[in-house]
């Protein structure tokens, strides 16, 4: 018994020592030399492998921005493709440093699941797509419709809430994978296809005649998608948060990948503080003072990141909408750097 107790005590001491010895995330990352970034197993525009096997997408670019701020090198990221089920486990177990996987910021995830959301990379929301020849112009006219959706997602729940709240009947036709949903809708097995609006833009590309379909104006759920880190390391949380704000501020101040070298000579105090020619804001986070300059140089500002991956010139053709800057009628608001 005595031996058992001493063993237990020893184990306890070890546990404590281990907890105390655990280095700050930033130091760990600096010593291992890369960021481990959790992304999706493939979502158009957010994280998807390109022809050369490089991960691309807005979620991916954000991880590259964080890597640029720390290492001055956007390639110092390793990506872990995660399914929706194991994404939180991977973050909690320390398997990944950032979860940048189109994850909706909700209270349960932010609190009881132990996540800290750094910001909203993309304000999304669930929408409906329907054939033009159905002559429906509003989701309120959808009573009695059959709706195609994916099983086991919040999409199904939102759908039920919306139709119940508006006293409408509907029939749900659910499939296990996204591809099946699209094929079923394309084959006319249901009247309406529902998923997040960014997803609708991606699915539309797979339809036989994309122009025969419209996306209805109603958005029936709020899906603020953003990168998250786990509880317990405020410095790391701050860095991820301010990488996001720096990208927003850069867009607001007109600093972009092309002109960032000239902007280093700018007399504008806000630009100077952003690019680190004035003040020591980077060092306050454990980074160098030119951290934001590195981000813009390697990845660009928020607008560039958006346009490159999901914007009007990409196959997805998503307009900025609510994701425009606050002074252009959108919701993206970068906290001031000073």
């Amino acid at each position: 018994m005595k031996r058992l107790l001493s063993t237990l005590a020893l184990c306890g001491a070890f546990g404590l020592a281990a907890a105390g010895a655990q280095a700050a995330k930033l130091d760990q990352i600096k010593s291992k030399g890369f960021i481990q970034c959790g992304v999706s197993q493939g979502l158009p525009g957010f994280s998807t492998p390109d022809d050369k096997g490089n991960w691309t997408g807005i979620d991916v670019d954000f991880c590259r921005a964080v890597a640029s701020a720390i290492f001055d090198d956007p390639t110092k990221v390793k990506f872990t493709p995660l399914s929706a089920k194991d994404r939180f486990t991977a973050l909690q177990s320390g398997d990944i440093d950032i979860l940048s996987r189109n994850t909706t910021w909700t209270i349960s995830r932010d609190t009881s699941l132990g996540l800290n959301f750094a910001g909203v990379i993309y304000y999304d929301g669930q929408g409906f797509m329907i054939r033009k020849d159905k002559k429906v112009n509003s989701a309120m006219e959808l009573s009695g419709a059959s709706v195609c959706t994916q099983t086991g997602t919040t999409t199904e729940q939102n759908l039920a809430d919306f139709f119940r709240a508006n006293n409408m009947t509907y029939e749900v036709i659910a499939f296990a994978t996204n591809d099946e949903v699209v094929k079923a809708y394309d084959a006319g097995r249901c009247d309406v296809l529902t998923t997040d609006r960014s997803g609708l833009a991606g699915e539309r590309l797979k339809l036989t005649n994309p122009d025969d379909h419209i996306v209805l104006p109603e958005i029936i759920s709020k899906e603020p998608l953003g990168p998250a880190v786990s509880h317990g390391d405020d410095q790391w949380f701050d860095i991820v948060k301010w990488v996001y704000f720096a990208q927003l501020n850069a867009e607001e101040l007109g600093v972009n990948q092309k002109n960032v070298e000239e902007q280093l000579k700018s007399a504008n105090p806000e630009v100077k503080r952003l690019l680190g020619t004035e003040g020591k804001f980077g060092e306050g986070m454990g980074l160098t003072n030119d951290w934001a300059y590195r981000i813009v140089k390697h990845v660009g500002n928020y607008g560039e990141m958006y346009d490159r991956n999901v914007g009007p010139d990409t196959p997805l053709k998503l307009a900025r909408g609510v994701n425009a800057l606050w002074n252009k009628g959108g919701l993206q608001y970068g906290m001031p750097i000073r």
Binding site: A18, Q41, G42, L43, P44, G45, T48, P49, D50, D51, K52, G53, K78, T80, P81, L82, S83, D86, T89, S93, D179, K183, D186, G202, L205, K206, L207, T208, N209, T314, P315, L316
Partner: protein, 462 residues
């Protein structure tokens, strides 16, 4: 009729002038036209009864229904060149082959760094070069060949694929430090002194112990094992200057083949041992074999993979985090071994008792009896079932997608999400390609098994 030529015949004719005696065989008439040639063959094989006629007509209708549209989609209407989805958007286009072409590298290598892919090619080529002569039964030098393929090749493949230099000695030193005082990280020429001192002392100690216990065979076995292990550890410790590539970056056909081949190669000997164990007269061996087999047969493969990936780390001490692919590999090998064990047991039971008794009467030991008499016959009997297991193992590898390992099919699904290639036909093209690839592998295995069966089927046909 004919005027008899021989004198003997003339005599007979003389006796009775009106008797007709045929003196030579009449030439056979040609068979009725309806029973020879194409018509006859068709009558016999396709339209021999009403039921068969109906079945034939249905079959022809099905072929006509399926094949022309398939050919039209895959070949005639297919798009062969293009840089992005624009090429495949025209209405009525068939398969979008440029998509497969653009993603081909990923289908084969996954996220393996492009400038390192030659290493995978070398592993593939070496594997094919060693496997081909092993499969041709008449080729000489089977023993050397088998040793190279099963013994040397895995070590080389491991070094080439991962980059080697995994510091196995330091890892082992942490876990099995047999002689406590010898810890430390003093290295000479990159080799951990403490580990090798420990290793050699252990080997010599074990060998001497066996010798003193007057077990010369055991001592030899210990020496051989320690030598082989030592060479492997040494090979994995040397820095060959290859860039390390973690298994996270592996994917595509590479992962499919790694899992399938490792599964096949490790599960067969394990399965044979388990089958022998289950039929053993030693109660503990038998019980353990039964428990092992029934446990692994009782759980679905998907559960095994899930458990190995997400539950196992919770039980292991922190810091021990075996590689994800390795965990999947072990899971698949155990799972297949349990199935193979039952297959082999079926073969063992089919061997008449006389064979066992005959072997024993000859004075063979149990090992000799199994190796020389029983197993060759038993395994020959169950070749179809064994290959069946291998084929289903090959196809079951796709389940590793569940645990975030991108095998061939997983890579394909990831490629579907690329907005640059999203089109109505991308999905069909991808699956058609996957179907062709899987078919080639599985069909090849099945034909080879039939060939081996015919070659070995020298004795009793029942």
């Amino acid at each position: 009729m004919n005027v008899p030529a021989e004198p003997f015949a003339a005599e007979i004719v003389a006796v009775d002038d009106h008797t007709f005696v045929r003196r030579e065989m009449q030439a056979a008439l040609p068979p009725p036209r309806r029973q020879v040639g194409i018509i006859g063959w068709m009558r016999e094989n396709l339209f021999s009864s009403i039921l068969n006629t109906i079945l034939t007509l249905v079959g022809i209708a099905l072929v006509l229904l399926i094949v022309p549209p398939l050919v039209r989609f895959l070949v005639i209407d297919a798009v062969w060149t293009g840089d992005n989805r624009e090429a495949c958007l025209a209405p009525g286009t068939g398969a979008c082959w440029p998509f497969v072409k653009a993603k081909f590298g990923q289908f084969i290598y996954g996220f393996y760094p492009i400038d390192q892919r030659w290493r995978v090619n070398v592993v593939f080529a070496l594997g094919a070069a060693l496997l081909a002569p092993l499969l041709v039964l008449s080729w000489p030098g089977k023993k050397l060949n088998a040793f190279l393929f099963f013994g040397v090749y895995p070590v080389i493949a491991f070094i080439l694929l991962t980059g080697g230099n995994i510091n196995a000695s330091a890892f082992l030193l942490q876990r099995f430090n047999l002689i406590r005082p010898l810890t430390g990280d003093v290295t000479v020429a990159g080799l951990n002194v403490a580990f090798w001192a420990d290793y050699i002392l252990t080997a010599v100690g074990a060998g001497l112990g066996a010798l003193l216990g007057n077990a010369r065979g055991l001592a030899r076995a210990v020496a051989a094992t320690m030598l082989v292990l030592g060479v492997i550890i040494l090979a994995w410790d040397i820095d060959f200057g290859l860039q390390p590539v973690e298994t996270r970056q592996w994917g595509g056909l590479l992962v499919t083949l790694v899992i399938a081949v490792t599964g096949i190669v490790t599960s067969l000997p394990l399965g044979i041992l388990l089958a022998l164990g289950r039929r053993s007269k030693m109660p503990i061996v038998r019980l353990l074999s039964i428990i092992f087999i029934e446990f692994w047969r009782g759980v679905p493969l998907i559960t095994v993979l899930f458990f190995a990936t997400y539950m196992l780390p919770l039980f292991l001490p922190t810091g021990t985090n075996p590689d994800g692919l390795l965990r999947a590999l072990v899971g698949v090998a155990m799972f297949t071994a349990a199935y193979l064990a039952e297959t082999v047991r079926g073969g063992l039971q089919a061997i008449p008792k006389g064979q066992y008794e005959g072997a024993m009467a000859m004075g063979l030991t149990w090992g000799q009896m199994m190796r020389l008499i029983i197993l060759p016959q038993a395994l020959t009997l169950v070749i179809p079932s064994i290959v069946n297991s291998f084929i289903s193992l090959f196809k079951d590898t796709t389940l590793v997608l569940i645990v975030s390992i991108f095998d061939f099919l997983g890579q394909l699904r990831a490629a579907f999400t690329d907005p640059n290639w999203a089109s109505p036909v991308t999905l069909y093209t991808g699956f058609a390609f996957a179907g062709i690839v899987y078919f080639l592998f599985c069909f090849g295995m099945s034909r080879y098994s039939m060939f081996v069966e015919r070659r070995l089927d020298t004795s009793h046909r029942h």
